[in-house]
């Protein structure tokens, strides 16, 4: 088609700017529907949780009539019984019971029992309901039900920060034996930082050496670096299991060399996890650094030295500033990827090396509590984006202009 082969300069600036947009439109649409929309839909579950309100319309109305806090009167219990009967008939009672159980541990089986009694049309007053579900005689249960009937909730986001609403209506810390997420977020960022620094320490000298090699040899070295990059992350993780385990290759080697007198506990430990993650992330840090280093003219450093700079000064004042964008881009890429690690911590990390992704996966796959998973994902996404924006803005780094 000649119109593509012979691009004509368009008459107006507006058409000029629309053309690239039109070319990218299929991709943008695909991203919007397959990536953007599901993310928004999932994340919205962190704050929008209508299950309890939908299951208890009569109870919500009756609670509005009922004055004051604490355990409500007879009309609310009758409304609750009617709601449970309907939820049972509609098959919605299990989801309701499970959602309430998150806020009120132990409520699940009691609510299901109360629903069965309500369905059998036996006495459904306060006494009968409390007999089936003793939880309903407690003030704090009703506090949980009252807050649960709000469709919009801060419960999950607060939980993601180990916080909760206290009985006095203030925000406070959850009990120490339930506080886990802040520690896990801290651990995730700590391990990501260590791995990023470790890959930088390995990648920088290696990239420098590769740029100074003859092109043919540099190609071979690059392929050696990239070869593991083309292998599945699961396979690489499994390979590290073979190397790191107690009677594995590394321990055999260390003993044979006499460097250690006892077998090291490398598997199921943070050391092992960091070694494996560093290996997997190395190409991500290396390639941006290498691509920038290749474009730096060696003549500039030589010029600096010929003008009297010592080698270190020439490196520090002339070479390093030029490769800095590559270093930052590589580090940022690795750091952000590390924040989302899942399979390597599962297989190589110990119990106290699980990262936030492992907890998100647990809430999605095991607990079926997608609200909590969405809240944790939101915190992870927001902190990652915040970090990205901060770095690009204050360090003048633009990943899209790399290369």
């Amino acid at each position: 088609m000649s119109s593509i082969a012979m691009p004509r300069i368009s008459a107006t600036d507006q058409r000029e700017s629309l053309r690239p947009l039109a070319l990218a439109a299929p991709l943008l649409l695909l991203l919007l529907f397959s990536f953007g929309a599901p993310i928004v839909a999932l994340l919205s579950r962190a704050v929008y949780e209508p299950t309890i309100a939908n299951a208890l319309p009569r109870t919500v109305a009756a609670l509005r009539q009922d004055s004051g806090a604490g355990v409500p009167g007879e009309p609310v219990f009758l409304a609750l019984a009617a709601d449970l009967k309907q939820a049972q008939a509609a098959g919605a009672v299990y989801e309701f019971a499970k959602t309430l159980n998150t806020r009120l541990p132990g409520a699940r089986s009691q609510v299901l029992r109360a629903a069965r009694i309500a369905t059998q049309d036996q006495a459904t007053g306060k006494e009968a309901m409390i007999k089936a579900a003793p939880l309903l005689a407690e003030e704090q249960s009703w506090a949980a039900i009252r807050t649960g009937t709000n469709r919009f909730t801060s419960f999950y986001l607060l939980s993601a920060f180990d916080l909760r609403w206290t009985e006095r209506g203030t925000i406070g810390a959850v009990p120490a034996d339930q506080a886990v997420f802040l520690r896990v977020f801290g651990r995730t960022f700590l391990i990501a930082t260590i791995v990023t620094l470790a890959t930088l320490a390995l990648a920088f000298p290696l990239a420098f050496v590769i740029t100074s090699l003859r092109p043919a040899i540099a190609g071979i070295v690059l392929v050696l670096v990239l070869l593991p990059f083309w292998t599945s992350i699961l396979v690489r993780t499994a390979a590290w299991t073979v190397i790191l385990q107690k009677y594995g290759l590394l321990n055999d080697l260390l003993l044979w060399l006499g460097l250690t007198s006892d077998r090291l506990e490398l598997m199921y430990s943070r050391t092992g996890l960091i070694i494996a993650m560093t290996h997997i992330q190395l190409p991500f840090t290396l390639l941006p650094i290498y691509s920038v280093m290749r474009s730096v003219k060696p003549s500039l450093v030589r010029a600096a030295q010929s003008l009297g700079a010592r080698p270190f000064t020439a490196f520090w004042r002339v070479y390093l500033p030029q490769v800095m964008p590559g270093v930052l881009a590589g580090c940022l890429l690795t750091f952000i990827l590390c924040l989302g690690y899942y399979i390597t911590p599962v297989l190589i990390g110990g119990a106290s090396d699980q990262l936030i992704s492992n907890f998100i996966a647990n809430y999605v796959n095991v607990e079926l509590n997608w609200e909590m998973a969405a809240a944790l994902s939101f915190v992870l996404l927001a902190s990652t984006l915040g970090l990205y924006v901060t770095l690009t803005r204050y360090l003048g780094l633009d990943l899209f202009k790399m290369g």
């Binding site: 098959g91 886990v180 520690r183």
Partner: protein
């Protein structure tokens, strides 16, 4: 149940609860990275009668007690996630003993000829369920299948393919003679056991998993 390598342990453990005895059986031991079963074993090891395990575990003091017992071996535990890990952990001699699903250990013994052995006393028995989804197209056929699967002669054949026991005790006499000694439901293995309480974990799974994770992270 508990599995160990007979070439590593000179003396055979007599009960799953021996996993808490680091004096008699020093070395790393593996447990599943979940509160279910481990808390029950911790209470049994702490002297709670089997009949009272879930009653005690239903109280805050009981949960504290179970975690306190787990504290005593925490530094010696390697945690596993997937059912394939326990035989692998034993084979690589990463641990001296491990809790496991018996089917995985049995297939390592039978097919890979590993020198593993199983300790059945204080095992926790769990059930799998068959459910018919709401709105199933062939509801009558599904019921027929349930009736068929529940026949003692049929249930008894399961063990020929994977060493898990039939749900009905009536089925035990129909289990092939060479299979029976491998099953958790063999009369010899059902002397001291606890049946996992599905309803308890339905109610308390989520908060106990959270507490378990907080405990792990400490």
């Amino acid at each position: 149940m508990l599995a160990y390598d007979t070439t590593v342990l000179k003396e055979a453990p007599s009960s799953v609860l021996d996993i808490f005895d680091t004096k008699k059986f020093p070395g790393k031991r593996a447990m599943r990275k979940a509160p279910a079963q481990n808390l029950e074993w911790a209470l049994m090891a702490d002297g709670v009668p089997i009949a009272d395990v879930y009653k005690v575990l239903g109280t805050p003091e009981g949960v504290d007690r179970a975690f306190k017992k787990l504290d005593t071996i925490k530094k010696d535990i390697v945690w596993w996630d997937a059912g394939a890990q326990p035989p692998q952990l034993l084979a690589s001699r990463e641990v001296v003993m491990t809790t496991a699903w018996n089917g995985r250990i049995q297939s390592a013994i039978d097919q890979e000829k590993r020198p593993f052995a199983i300790v059945w006393n204080n095992q926790i028995v769990e059930y799998d369920m068959i459910a018919i989804p709401k709105g199933a197209k062939n509801l009558d056929l599904a019921y027929k299948y349930l009736a068929y699967a529940a026949e003692p002669e049929v249930g008894a054949q399961l063990g020929r393919f994977i060493p898990y026991g039939p749900v009905l005790t009536d089925a035990t006499p129909f289990v092939p003679k060479d299979v029976l000694p491998k099953l958790p439901t063999a009369p010899d293995h059902m002397k001291i056991y606890l049946v996992g309480d599905v309803e308890f974990w339905g109610d308390h799974g989520e908060d106990l998993v959270k507490r378990f994770n907080a405990w792990l992270a400490q």
